[in-house]
Symmetry: C2
Subunit: 209 residues, 2 copies
DNA sequence: AGGAATGGATAGTGCTACTATCCAACCGGC
DNA sequence: GCCGGTTGGATAGTAGCACTATCCATTCCT
């Protein structure tokens, strides 16, 4: 398979494929001549993985590269890999000092996570994301404690327990890709389902009829 | 309060405040002279709402404007407003025809939603988001039926039922803003909590110790 | 033989969220 | 009432990102 075929199969333009190769998201094909190279199924699969991470997961090129590098690194444990995926999904923090209320929110979130009995790295980006959400609520005049998140924490706990049971199957490569894909695309699915469920319950309560 | 004070209180540069006014995200201050205007608490609050939608919810300027317009529109029902928020949160679809597998995924998702007994608009953007997630799984060689989402649908249903019970309190303006804020920031919180719970359960299973 | 395709390099595009500059009116301390 | 700093309003410029277009010397394929 050469670029034209790869492009046709994947639905991605040749120019973009070249760009991904330049950016290190896709291996160059195996060269057969100074200006010819051959691509295989693995290139097609990789391309689909890249697009899934970008389109479904909303990752940027740099974040995709970080995830792919982590998948390729045989020294990383499953747990480490999940951390990389979580870091890639988190928006990059703004520069400058952390505002005061966010500092307080982080402390509250840390205490909340500890109360839940969860064992999570101190610097995990999702802690900060949760603190940002809490601080946003405060700024809008909703003076909630971190315990507002309790119901969400419970379902998240159930979900994650179930997910972690079912993930690791097959070879390392497969399991590791499965973990990333699971994290990213089932997150998108969960969010979509919450919105659908909200629409449903809102229709039950408020729509005419 | 004049711009400098508004800027200080909100932490947003004067230039950006002007930009938001130009873009219709913020009302101009009440003019006291040809080139002087006065801002109040409501401007500060609005600014914080805008930032929350952008930073926590990841909305762009156009999406924020759509949400704010919907909040301001007294003719929109609570249900309609939720729809606007959901549409604002959805990424805008790429141009061009819908790929074949996505068409099939949408059909599967529609059937799945119907089986759940959920009453949701046929064109709800979250249906498409869920179909995109399903199609992404297929493309990566995971030939799941839409029923893989069942566990997620159940927790989403529980969560949404509880959320819709607790949302509408206070005046229309408050309730309506609360609905939007709830949708957007608790979504971010849910996602963060799922990641934390995953990290926790992954640590339990795979980390040393 | 010769038109199309290729890899590799480099430059340009479109979009978004700002950011900078300018200007003529103002404000407020002296 | 003077003058440095601020304001609203207009216009133009910037940075980052994900591509996209062009060029060129080979190579493919019929």
């Amino acid at each position: 398979m050469r670029v034209a075929a790869l492009s046709r199969e994947s639905g991605i333009s040749v120019a973009t494929i070249k760009y991904y190769i330049r950016e290190g998201l896709l291996e160059p094909g195996t060269p057969t001549a100074p200006n010819q190279a051959e691509y295989g199924e693995e290139h097609l699969h990789r391309l689909r993985l890249v697009r899934a991470l970008m389109e479904v997961g909303g990752l940027g090129v740099a974040a995709v590269r970080a995830v792919l590098d982590a998948i390729a690194d045989p020294d990383l444990s499953f747990h480490d890999l999940l951390g990389v995926a979580h870091r890639a999904l988190a928006p990059r923090p703004h520069p400058g000092p952390v505002p005061d209320d966010v500092v307080r929110a982080r402390a509250e979130v840390d205490a909340f996570v500890q109360d839940l009995g969860w064992r999570v790295d101190a610097g995990h980006p999702a802690r900060w994301a949760l603190a940002d959400a809490l601080a946003a609520l405060w700024r809008l005049g909703r003076e909630y404690p971190a315990q507002v998140f309790q119901p969400y924490a419970e379902v998240a706990d159930d979900l994650a327990a179930w997910e972690l049971q079912t993930v690791p199957t097959g070879s390392r490569g497969e399991a590791v890709e499965g973990a990333v894909v699971g994290t990213v695309v089932f997150e998108a699915a969960l969010v979509a389902l919450r919105r659908l469920a909200q629409a449903h319950h809102s229709a039950l309560r408020f729509a005419d009829g």
